[in-house]
Subunit: 207 residues, 2 copies
DNA sequence: ATTATCTATAGATCTATAGATAATGC
DNA sequence: ATTATCTATAGATCTATAGATAATGC
């Protein structure tokens, strides 16, 4: 029953980390406080010394899910501009991500539930969406900032929609087709000069 | 306490219709049997003469949501090929649809929850996704069937993703920007010959 | 006779709180 | 002295069932 300050911080992070994973797997309403605490090796009673309410945990868990995804995106972004967007797309639209929502993107796992959540969670989401659009825009080859932002919004939407649909269907072939097809389209955009349909000035893509 | 066969059928449809709307609004776990029955002017006890389980209602309600959306899509599809895809896109990516999930598309309202649902619901979803892709493909101007299907998958994914994100963010300007930007991109594809980036052979779009 | 619906409730589960216990930290 | 955690439980809610009631339909 130890409780140093450092220990409490570690415990807090562990609770949030578990909730973040399980919420993505089972939905924001699909996993209870008792289960989270049990998985963290604790009991229900201690929960409210860490959080004022369940919604508090939801907000922190969603934020943590964004952070985890961001670290993976940053890793994918360490490279040349065009090739890394292709990498990012591939690291998103694949079967491993589809089959492991707990460690994946929070948007395709939770977007409709976030839309029904409290203001704080949705404010965090606004910021994360802004960041992700910004990141994708910088990875796009076009020079025109406005065009890059516009294309980034399309890319981001298509990524999230494709994964949402690929997970929702039971037909494995259809699910794969969605992932592959959208991936091909988006990578084509990523390797092409934006803002005009004239050129096919390829980016530094090797394949 | 009347109960003719015709009456029972009407009651059944009413229950499904209410559930279909409320599930889209509050999530598959966000609305209880007692509430559905109460809104239908009935009490809990009668529920299980209509459905074997709650999952039965979920499956029927999701199916009903697909049907309702299909009718609206069919209405939008009554016109020339290219102009009606632009119409379809506009009828999807707007603020009225964003703010009224209960009468809107079931994918952007429920996709992650459907992914966690039973096999039957996901099988229904596969069929609906196939139909919607097929519909969009026939509305695309390109002659090449494979290209049209590929483009339809991208369009469908971007529609669902854009609406999911537009609903999840609290920032109204960002939300609108997502809807407008993705709409512009998709309508540009819809009015352009697919399968090549050479031409800009416009479709019969009037604007 | 059958059955659609009602009232009532069992049993499970979930959030939140109360009070006890045992460790930290001044 | 403070507090992180524990045990125990109140109170709410949700699915599903049991048995009664009142209408249909043979």
């Amino acid at each position: 029953m130890g409780h140093s300050k450092a220990q409490k911080t570690r415990t807090h992070k562990r609770i949030v980390s578990i909730a973040s994973k399980r919420f993505r797997e089972k939905g924001l309403a699909g996993f209870g406080i008792a289960e989270v605490m049990k998985e963290a090796g604790l009991t229900v009673g201690g929960f409210y010394k860490h959080f004022d309410s369940r919604d508090d945990l939801v907000a922190e868990a969603v934020s943590s899910a964004f952070g985890g995804w961001k670290r993976r995106v940053d890793a994918a972004a360490s490279g040349g501009p065009s090739i890394s967007l292709a990498k990012l797309i591939d690291s998103y639209l694949n079967e491993a991500h589809r089959d492991n929502p707990g460690t994946g993107c929070a948007f395709c796992a939770l977007a409709p539930e976030i839309a029904r959540s409290d203001k704080r969670t949705r404010a965090l989401t606004s910021e994360q969406v802004r960041n992700d659009i910004q990141l994708i825009a910088t990875l796009l080859p076009g020079e025109d900032k406005r065009t890059a932002r516009s294309q980034a919004i399309l890319t981001f939407s298509a990524l999230v929609g494709a994964m949402s649909l690929a997970r929702a269907v039971s037909d494995e072939a259809l699910s794969r087709e969605i992932l592959e097809t959208v991936g091909e389209h988006l990578k084509r955009f990523a390797s092409k000069q934006q803002g005009s349909n004239r050129g096919k000035k390829a980016g530094p893509l090797s394949d």
